[in-house]
Symmetry: C2
Subunit: 204 residues, 2 copies
């Protein structure tokens, strides 16, 4: 609860601390890939960023806060780019475009996204971040379903519920596939796309 960088808003000149902060986050991402969340200690983090543990605690209150910030950074970057998805006329094209976009996202940020999913239970902050992200996807999927003629509503055979289920299918399929290889990811994507289309009544 020490008010350090919460008070530091956008700034003209770049503080030394902004550098450090970025270094910490980058180190965190690297260590996450290298040894995983559990095994990564605050000491490792500090060492990787070239400072001592004490100094790190000036920037972040805990390991969880560091990871939360990393997830926030990634997820923000993700929100910006995903708003242009829904604007295609043909639902079939919209689905294909959305899936392509999502594959790119997972190829680029799979590690952080998997971490976010893993920690959403134990770290409420990350849970909230990820829920919001999922909602974005659910809304997008639901919109496409409705455009394809699925009636709106919360009943099992209506768009909203189906959108949610399909989102979870994609999340989980990609979670597993992105752990394996980009190749598996694109196969998983094709499968999900097919089920999505079928569910929307767009059987070729």
């Amino acid at each position: 609860m020490s008010g350090h960088h919460a008070a530091r808003g956008r700034r003209a000149t770049e503080r030394k601390g902004d550098l450090r902060e970025r270094a910490i986050l980058d180190t965190c991402e690297a260590l996450l890939a290298e040894k995983g969340y559990e095994a990564m200690t605050v000491g490792d983090l500090a060492q990787g960023a070239g400072i001592t543990r004490g100094a790190l605690y000036f920037y972040f209150g805990s390991k969880q806060e560091v990871v939360t910030a990393l997830v926030a950074r990634t997820v923000e970057h993700l929100w910006e780019r995903s708003l242009t998805t829904a604007r295609s006329e043909d639902p079939r094209r919209a689905v294909a475009a959305a899936m392509r976009r999502t594959v790119e996202l997972w190829n680029a940020h799979g590690l952080v996204m998997r971490t976010a999913i893993d920690l959403s239970l134990t770290v409420p902050e990350i849970g909230a971040l990820w829920d919001r992200t999922a909602d974005l996807f659910i809304t997008a999927i639901t919109a496409v379903l409705e455009r394809a003629g699925v009636p709106p509503g919360e009943e099992p055979d209506q768009a909203s519920s189906m959108g949610r289920a399909l989102c979870w299918m994609i999340e989980r399929s990609f979670y597993h596939a992105s752990q394996e290889s980009p190749e598996r990811l694109s196969r998983a994507s094709a499968t999900c796309e097919h089920i999505w289309l079928t569910s929307a009544g767009l059987t070729s």
Copy 2:
């Protein structure tokens, strides 16, 4: 790696230790519900089972081992009952039966199943256990798809891939829904059933 109860096979008379072991596992399940995996310490576990930490380490090497044993116990119980699923003639009935069965499972053991999913990444033992469970489900779903006329094979529009994707959809939907309420769980179930049927070409 201390050879204590690994050597103790099935036994006519029930050792005192078997009692303890069960007490520990029961306590573990209770604590998991009460405070979650992270917050639960080995001390809590021991206290709940009415012994000291030292005594607990006689039975299990670590907190992870306790939880692994709990997951194993639950999942075994689960394997036994799920083998009778595939024997219905009408695919529509088979799907309905499978979903009903799965809802029961999640209502009864949702907590342990969610824990298993959460830990499958960090605890390889649990990962293996859960993978095997998932494979069971995937195989069952795939079988029903094929019986309904979906061609077998690994291509995106063929049974095997679709079975996997549908399994993940169900897992994730149930994971979230079972956290909320039995009511949400049954709604999620209905949605998943609808998508499954549609994917199998069994549109009413």
